[in-house]
Symmetry: C2
Subunit: 149 residues, 2 copies
């Protein structure tokens, strides 16, 4: 398989969800597909929601971080690189998550993200968590251009 | 200090964010205050967002789980207990998070939640993450009555 978006664009990032420079994080790997960005995520035993399913906070984390991969890929394609002194070109400003059905704790789930609008100040993406052919959770993610202050 | 809402109402829950039966989780502790529910949360080093601030997914997790404490307390006050065979009376159906300002990775932050509407089928809550006198993130949480299937 080709190198993941995270490992190609920000290999040393210490982000909890998608940083491959974070030994204790989730190390999400996302890949370009035909019209969308895809990832597989296998939960850890501690990612329980208290009822034996995947925790809503962890679902939010992987939806957010997977949308990041789609947004950073779009920014690269548009020629909007990170500004000097920062590793990422955009940061999340909003994440509207809908939990539609329980997601499993002990199975690998799929994530799919599509960029829905892109201007240099902000990029939006829709992202889904899917298992067994059904969408378990969705999010609308709003990302804004990050400037160091 | 009095016993936390989590330890009083669901002491053995294995939830990643607020379960005290989860050895590897965040073990959030929330307390009733005057008109709201409060908690303090101290991030772990791995909760980085990649830029040296608190990760958005972890922010979502503690906003979700802290709103849970307010919702479960409201459900107890209203007399809407968990149904037979489940440990929780409600589950999250939606979480709309707004990231307003960076939140620190190495300081303790405060969480505040207020129940904004409550009927037996669904309860809503507004929840904030505050540090240094400023709101860093907010969420509107929608919880629905949980029935085992």
């Amino acid at each position: 398989m080709t190198e993941s978006i995270q490992e190609r664009l920000y290999p040393d990032l210490p982000c909890f969800g998608c940083g491959h420079g974070n030994d204790r994080g989730l190390k999400l790997r996302s890949y370009p597909a035909d019209g969308y960005v895809t990832a597989q995520f296998t939960p850890w035993l501690e990612h329980d929601n208290g009822l034996g399913f995947l925790n809503g906070g962890i679902i939010s984390t992987v939806l957010d971080c997977h949308s990041a991969a789609a947004v950073m890929l779009e920014a690269e394609r548009q020629g909007w690189p990170p500004l000097p002194g920062v590793p990422l070109s955009y940061v999340t400003a909003g994440l509207d998550v809908r939990y539609l059905r329980p997601a499993p704790l002990k199975e690998t789930v799929e994530l799919r993200a599509v960029v829905t609008s892109a201007t240099e100040p902000q990029i939006t993406a829709d992202v889904e968590l899917i298992w067994d052919g059904k969408v378990r959770a969705t999010a609308a993610a709003l990302w804004k251009r990050w400037r160091p202050r």
